[in-house]
């Protein structure tokens, strides 16, 4: 760790060097927080697990949709054979009751879907939220009124109920894509509102006024003066929005309107495990724990990022 560089050296070092970029200094401050690193570690772990899912399942020897009738006891209602939900050298984390799906493989592919949906939705709400938020904040007047009113109405919708309703009526479409769009539809106003507020305060800074006085076009001002200053806010809000998106995906899938079988997903595993919670507790513990850890990871990191990057918080 380089954080233990003696303090005395710093002044001399600083004289010779260009001042550290804001990102570098933010990273340095972030690195000093063990909790943020735990969060980052959890995220990296799950992202790697999702990316390496095909490799890892090839090593373990069971795909997510492979069934193994020998690993479950058909005389006991299909409960896994052996202790801890059927953990063995064959099935590293045991098998699902019933068909004997390999839990390890299903968790990995479940991570893929969960993260894919959450990241895509996060990207979509960033694009839409920032575009509309900046437009409303920068141009003000009627544009602002229309966009703000629209955001208010969107935010007064009971989002979970509407997401369920929308997802339940559309039957024969790409579920993952639909899930991403529906989830984004009800989440973008939250980031747009924050961005709008920030843009309004940035708009009146001297350097923006100077650029405007110099005849710079609005597009250029937004792109070169406003957007770069919004980056840290965007990063913080997106990091904090992702756990919510992951939770919504799991919840919608749990209720049966999200990702559909045969695509493996955590929400679906949790819904299936309900029947067996008494007899095979491992089946609910594993997907729930994954969900918990990944949400925890993003919340810990987002929380630390807010302290580190938020200009109001703690640059001092």
């Amino acid at each position: 760790m380089t954080t233990t560089v003696p303090a005395v050296q710093e002044p001399t070092e600083r004289q010779g060097q260009v001042p550290a970029s804001p990102w570098r200094s933010a990273w340095r401050r972030l690195r000093r927080r063990p909790i943020a690193l735990v969060g980052l570690g959890l995220i990296v772990f799950f992202v790697l697990a999702a990316l390496l899912a095909p490799v890892l399942t090839a090593i373990s020897g069971h795909g997510p949709t492979d069934t193994d009738k020998l690993a479950v006891d058909r005389f006991l209602g299909g409960l896994p054979k052996g202790s801890l939900g059927g953990v063995s050298s064959q099935h590293w984390l045991g098998v699902e009751p019933g068909l004997g799906h390999d839990i390890f493989a299903r968790l990995l592919y479940g991570a893929q879907i969960s993260l894919l949906v959450a990241f895509s939705a996060a990207l979509l709400i960033t694009v839409v939220g920032v575009a509309l938020g900046v437009t409303a904040g920068y141009f003000g007047g009627k544009v602002d009124m229309v966009i703000s009113r629209f955001m208010d109405i969107m935010m007064s919708f009971p989002s979970l109920i509407f997401m369920i309703a929308l997802l339940s009526v559309a039957k024969d479409v790409n579920r993952v894509l639909l899930l991403i769009i529906v989830m984004s539809l009800f989440t973008w106003p939250y980031i747009a509102r924050v961005i709008r507020g920030q843009t309004i305060s940035l708009k009146h800074r001297e350097y923006v006024e100077a650029a405007r006085a110099g005849g710079t076009s609005s597009t250029r001002i937004v792109l070169t003066e406003i957007l770069p200053n919004l980056t840290s806010t965007i990063i913080v809000y997106i990091t904090l929005a992702i756990p919510g998106l992951i939770g919504s995906e799991a919840g919608l899938t749990y209720l049966g309107v999200g990702v559909q079988p045969p695509t493996p997903s955590w929400g679906q595993m949790i819904a299936d495990s309900e029947l067996y919670y008494k007899l095979d507790p491992m089946f609910f513990v594993l997907p729930c724990a994954c969900l918990f850890l990944v949400v925890l990871g993003f919340t810990l990191l987002g929380d630390a990022l807010r302290d580190v990057l938020d200009p109001k918080g703690g640059n001092g």
């Binding site: 109920i161 509407f162 309703a165 339940s168």
Partner: protein, 329 residues
């Protein structure tokens, strides 16, 4: 204040109308055919056409929408001849599944959702406020840090996990608590609370974390205000400064949040009710969803929106009443 109220009410009416229109469009533009669903699987094409005519599905969408909205306020006679039934004031139509009026199905289950909402709100307020205040008073100490990391952990905990762990340890392993089944409060208050305990805890744990964090930051902010310094300078005891001067203004944002959360919960905690098999509005919604019972899904969606929008209004009006500055924006 009156002007403010009128402005807000107009806004609410507009929002509800938009919500109504969106809900209506979602359910009537999409491919599924309500007449087919109402009539059942072994229904001749002629019969389906007949049902469609009776349900008024041949009229243009805007007319259908007008009828639907009008029916909510004025009631509506459905069907013709000997099949005619009159659906009274809050008319959301009849369930395809049970044939009962949707409004009655919702009100029948409201008591369960209210029980769940109120009980868990008491629990999460208790836990959240206590944690938040303790954390704020011991700001930046190890107590504060531990509690705040704890709240992040509690907030990250999926409700399914809490629910199934509680069920596993308290019901399956130790038999301390019977498996939750809803008992009406008026029938047996003790059994009611015993059976609702696990659902309350599940919902409260997930929500308390947010309240704790909000209370903490709000109390810290208030304790830095000049009037608290004045109170201290007067020589008041610290306990009194905190309870009398610090806590009261700090709780305003908490009350706002509580109002909105309760409004949302009255419409049913879909997942929690599903997990514990509680027959509340959320369960009604989830069940109707699985059976494609459109009138019920639509009715619950609208009633839920109504609760949420109304509770937002109540909170805002209370807020404006307490704090005149809020009336301007």
């Amino acid at each position: 204040m009156i002007g403010y109220l009128i402005r807000r009410l107009a806004g609410i009416a507009l929002t509800l109308l938009v919500i109504c229109a969106v809900t209506f469009t979602i359910f009537y533009l999409l491919p599924s055919d309500p007449a087919q669903a109402f009539c059942g699987k072994d229904c001749t094409p002629d019969r389906v056409a007949e049902v469609r005519r009776q349900m008024g599905l041949n009229a243009p969408l805007i007319v259908q929408f007008g009828r639907y909205v009008l029916a909510i306020f004025a009631g509506r006679t459905m069907g013709t001849g000997s099949y005619a039934v009159h659906c009274d004031f809050p008319c959301f139509g009849y369930s395809f599944q049970t044939g009962l009026p949707v409004w009655n199905m919702i009100t029948d289950r409201l008591s369960v959702s209210i029980s769940l909402a109120i009980g868990s709100a008491v629990l999460w307020l208790g836990m959240g406020l206590l944690t938040g205040v303790v954390s704020a008073l011991r700001k930046n100490s190890w107590v504060d840090r531990t509690l705040m990391i704890g709240t992040i952990g509690a907030a990250a905990m999926p409700v399914y996990f809490t629910a199934m762990l509680l069920l596993y340890f308290f019901c399956a392993q130790t038999n301390l608590i019977p498996y939750p089944r809803y008992v009406d409060f008026t029938a047996d208050p003790l059994a009611w609370s015993q059976n609702m305990l696990l659902p309350w805890l599940t919902l409260a744990l997930a929500t308390a974390a947010m309240y704790a964090r909000m209370t903490r930051s709000s109390v810290i902010e208030t304790l830095g205000e000049p009037f608290v310094r004045t109170a201290r300078a007067k020589g008041l005891r610290e306990r009194r400064v905190v309870s009398k001067h610090g806590l009261r203004p700090a709780l305003t944002p908490v009350v706002t949040m509580l109002g909105m959360d309760l409004g949302g919960l009255l419409a049913g905690a879909v997942i929690t009710e599903q997990l514990f098999g509680l027959p509340g509005v959320g369960k009604l919604f989830a069940d109707a969803l699985h059976k494609s019972d459109q009138p019920v899904v639509m009715g619950v969606t609208l009633v839920a929106s109504f609760f949420i929008v109304t509770s937002n209004l109540v909170v805002d009006v209370l807020y404006a009443w307490i704090d005149p500055r809020a009336r301007l924006s």
